[in-house]
Symmetry: C2
Subunit: 223 residues, 2 copies
Amino acid sequence: MVTEPNTTDERRTPLTRDRVLQAAVDLADRGGNEALSMRKLGQELGVDAMALYRHVRGKDDLLDGLVEVIVGQIERPTSGGDWRANLREQAMAARNVMLSHPWARRVLEERGTGGPACLAYVESVLATLHDGGFSIELAHHALHVLSSRIFGFTQDLFEEPGPADPPPDAAAMLRALAGYPRVVELAMAASHEGVLGPCDDDVEFAFGLDLTLDGLERVRAGA
Amino acid sequence: MVTEPNTTDERRTPLTRDRVLQAAVDLADRGGNEALSMRKLGQELGVDAMALYRHVRGKDDLLDGLVEVIVGQIERPTSGGDWRANLREQAMAARNVMLSHPWARRVLEERGTGGPACLAYVESVLATLHDGGFSIELAHHALHVLSSRIFGFTQDLFEEPGPADPPPDAAAMLRALAGYPRVVELAMAASHEGVLGPCDDDVEFAFGLDLTLDGLERVRAGA
DNA sequence: TCTCCCATGTCTACGGTGTAAACTACGCCG
DNA sequence: CGGCGTAGTTTACACCGTAGACATGGGAGA
């Protein structure tokens, strides 16, 4: 082809690692986790899939890069309050990021938290704990109990019947749930009238976070 | 071929959903999560991959079946104690199962907890909470905070440097960690001399579990 | 200005995945 | 014996990540 200028000639500006990562974020935001394939990403950028390998070592490296981008988006709290308020604000900030990038949770779990952005993030959390009077051992425990919440999500194995679930066939659903009276009781009571979000329940997140923070404070003060 | 009897002629006994699931568990126990492919599983059973589709609707159905098997392995606690001891014992039993099937965590997260075994399991947990004096709302919260622990694992984003990590290149590792003083401090302090397990740290699991149970008891008593 | 090189992107290909559809082989039952 | 259902096979398709050879174009050096 002879440099035929295709719509806005987006491909002229050369690819960059940052451009690749940004496109990957956009793609995942739109198409979810399974849309993140090398081929689709290449297509997204008007480029052959293999071209990406000039700027990214492979899929794993791409995902690592995404972790960096996402974790980098988490705002550090205005470090005014005590450790508790500080950490709470931190977790909430992280949660906001995770809510706007629902796919990121899986990527984080899959690739781990060993990258620079994550290390820096953990470093800041540890500093907060230290300044709050936590011993190293207790900070270690705290990091483990908080780990998922500090990154903005909980390991919610239960998918509430949300407003999207009943439509299919409420009758069959109820029939399938016969034999689990307490489960249906709970499903009724917890039907989450207030449609808070697609991923998680703000109330639940805050509840668990506060429960954990309270517990940590108690242990800290007791030790 | 004319019924040539290959070693022990294992293929003669006809396939069954249970046989398929059991083989899948064995395969995953040996080869981890990525060994769970239809083709490999078929090979494991001395059978073509497509043969599995007679006994399993597809990969998703296979995974759902695995969830049933695994969750079914969790022993119910001897319901003698109070709710707290009861739930603790329950979580520990679940953890034992998860430790012997490390791949199960991912499968559970991927496929959810909507199957009969999981529903029955949750039902029993809810019964325990109810008998312990929890209101429906509080039981709901409790289920969310406990969800991952009740199934035997926590969402541990941090991979401790365990005894397998240093070998590669301790010097390069320490160099990479320069700039994160508190992280290395913690890594030193928490080097987990006691090599407890490959997946998680018993101490951390128990710590988080007790912290959560204490918090719940406090809320229950206060409300 | 000519030339060469290298960076960037493309093409082809390989082995892997899940699975749809057609086909084969066997046992059972009327 | 005829037929039928059941279990397993074969083939094929679309997708995945990626190794390796190739095309191309622009900038540096002669």
